[in-house]
Symmetry: C2
Subunit: 423 residues, 2 copies
């Protein structure tokens, strides 16, 4: 038996009972003969409480100190988890990100992992311990300061450790049963996916699926570490994310993996842009200089009579104000007529590697939306994904229609608890 890395999110260790339940699960893995490394997030609402405290003393907390503060959360959960395991008669030691050898760059609050040197973890395992590691955190290579990895950081810690320790699998325990063909809060008949390729999972993650973040899946794909997303409550098999199906899973991939939706974006339309070379570049340079990532971009066909066109793009709502300011400042350089800002939009995406070889998926997608009376405002596609922007009010209807049209509905209603991803 080899080494497994297990990651437990904040909702799984929200209180003492949760910690004891997780401890039992970990001990079971150890008893089955595995070496076990556990990555743990902060308990329940701890992080939010710490952020609230920070804002009480400083409206814009300094990055270095903010990281020092937030990492207290994992320190608490990991120590308690190690105690709970020892109380079950098994040896356990907890390690901070720094002690576990998670080396990052110096960008506080969203550091990138640049190396993992888990010498202390190896030693602890060789001595028979279960190793508990703080998720979400590392130490900067140059300054030796404590850093945090930003959103999805604990999942990334788990995958990075799994890669460095050459684990058999990285198990991500969460409060849902796995990755679903759509958000079960919206589509009651969404099905749990047994296996999904890294590529499809990456597209789902960029399209609004919140179970795994793009960054973590990308890391796993690069080092070819199978991820098993599963519930810490039910103990049932969840969703495997890997290059190839596992065990007795069907070798042939489904045509469509799932439908994702995202209501976190807004649409900016730059109206009346002169249709000449370089205009788009000027617009998106202004946006990029403001450190804003954009998603979809569409340029209308210009009206022959005026020689003017409109350019629309989507971006996170949280960056909306900054984008408008940046464009207003560049107005004379760009020469547009006006700006329109619309945050009542939704993005709906159909993802599946099978669409490469199955003509008609795009047509079926549009037909399903049309039959449901949903108007399409923007379209963008990749090789294995089609995304459209619709009115936010239409999103649930649209997702259900597409899910049903592509035969993804399950026989039974699934009963699942669905929540956030922790961090």
């Amino acid at each position: 038996m080899g080494l497994v890395v297990q990651k437990y999110g904040g909702s799984s260790v929200a209180d003492a009972e949760g910690i004891k339940r997780v401890a039992k699960r970990i001990v079971d893995a150890k008893k089955s003969g595995h070496q076990v490394v556990v990555v743990v997030s902060a308990m329940g609402d701890t992080t939010d409480e710490l952020i609230d405290l920070a804002q009480q003393v400083s409206p814009i907390p300094a990055g270095r100190e903010f990281d020092m503060l937030l990492t207290a959360g994992e320190r608490i959960s990991m120590a308690l988890l190690a105690m709970a395991i020892k109380n079950l008669g098994h040896e356990a030691q907890s390690f901070t990100g720094s002690q576990a050898g998670v080396i990052t760059d110096s960008v506080h609050n969203k550091a990138r992992i640049i190396d993992v040197t888990p010498g202390r973890i190896r030693t602890a395992l060789d001595e028979g311990n279960i190793a508990i590691v703080a998720g979400f955190q590392g130490v900067s290579q140059d300054k030796k300061d404590i850093t945090t990895l930003g959103r999805g950081g604990s999942d990334t810690t788990a995958v990075a450790l799994a890669a460095a320790l050459e684990a058999e699998v990285c198990e991500i325990y969460t409060d849902v049963d796995g990755v679903f063909t759509a958000d079960p809060r919206v589509v009651k008949k969404a099905r749990k996916i047994d296996w999904i390729s890294f590529e499809d999972m990456l597209e789902l993650a960029s399209s609004g699926s919140k179970v795994l973040l793009h960054r973590c899946v990308e890391y796993a794909r690069r080092y070819n570490i199978p991820i098993h997303v599963r519930s810490s409550f039910s103990g049932l098999p969840g969703t495997w994310v890997s290059n190839e199906p596992q065990g007795n899973q069907p070798m042939e991939q489904a045509i469509i993996s799932g439908v994702a939706h995202d209501t976190s974006e807004a649409k900016v339309t730059v109206v009346g842009v002169p249709d000449k070379p370089g205009e788009a570049a000027t617009i998106f340079r202004a946006i990029a200089d403001a450190q804003i990532n954009i998603d979809m971009v569409v340029q209308n066909v210009s009206a022959a009579s005026t020689g003017l066109t409109d350019i629309s793009f989507t971006l996170p709502k949280t960056d909306g104000r900054k984008a408008i300011q940046a464009l207003e400042q560049a107005k004379s350089a760009i020469g547009f007529e006006s700006l329109r800002y619309d945050d009542q939009i939704a993005k709906i995406s159909l993802v599946g590697a099978g669409m490469k070889t199955n003509p008609g998926v795009t047509a079926g997608f549009f037909e399903a939306l049309s039959n449901a009376g949903v108007n399409i405002e923007l379209i963008s596609t990749s090789e294995i994904r089609i995304s459209v922007v619709t009115r936010a009010d239409d999103v649930n209807e649209a997702v259900r229609a597409v899910h049903s049209a592509f035969g993804l509905d399950s026989e039974n209603d699934e009963a699942v608890v669905y929540g956030g991803t922790g961090r």
Copy 2:
């Protein structure tokens, strides 16, 4: 201007308001031209809450993990304090005990400092920062594990850093105005002491005064670091503890520094011990083997008729059960008749280097107690201290009588807030 180390206890940083108030005080010290190093305890009840969590997952938490858990408390307070200072426009960086170079032995939960290598603190100061250091914690020299220093640990961290950095003074900010001639909760007319010698302070600390712990004063005495104990609320000058009076303080030491009392001890009497060489050694070897520290010891004159004597000693109440068990197990080796255990006692101590050269202090002490109708059960003395054991019920009466008899009462009633020492 030189370097000052300031230490703030948990009650001074109990909430965001407290942290902001302390930040202002720290910035004032910096503005006055000092280099400032701040040692901070965990906020308010954080430590108790963490202990409670630990006990929910494990009745006897493992030492290593317990230390990992508890040190989260200082991590939170130090990061918040650094943020609050930066919010006032001054540079600040927080450091864990490990980052600050506090090297300890490997005895978890009560580690001893064996070296302080504050290279990162020096660098931070030289770059113009205020350095915020987590109290109460360090890193073990051999295993590089996180350790905690036990009771009074943050004060000890502050004094140890002051010594390593050759600070002018170590300021201990607390929720009282300084060291008093008696516990102001008992003696309304207790006076704040302006200056006290290390020696007298050591005796007061071992006799029940809780403002400074013996360990911290001993460290300061060894490295000759003046301590200034003062209130973080009032900003008034407090009590200087040092070898020599400071500034315009009177050069001549008071005859009596103060009256301390302690109700945390119990008395064990071993009844009917054969009065022959080696008996006491056998008794106290049994106690020492049980890892129990004893305080006072008195052996009665033996009764000529029986050749038997009684031996009484005092010890922390918390060790009472363990001591009785140890003695019962050694009963045949010792050969006593019975054991008596009494936890309704109090110890009252009069401390002052002046008693060395002023005859009559002992007589005056006993007279004061006698006039107050207080019965004396045990007596023990050092060169600069007299202690007696009385009934616990008599303790307040006894302390007030002695305080008054030695002219320590102030003209006015003092109005002070009096609390614990944090850690």
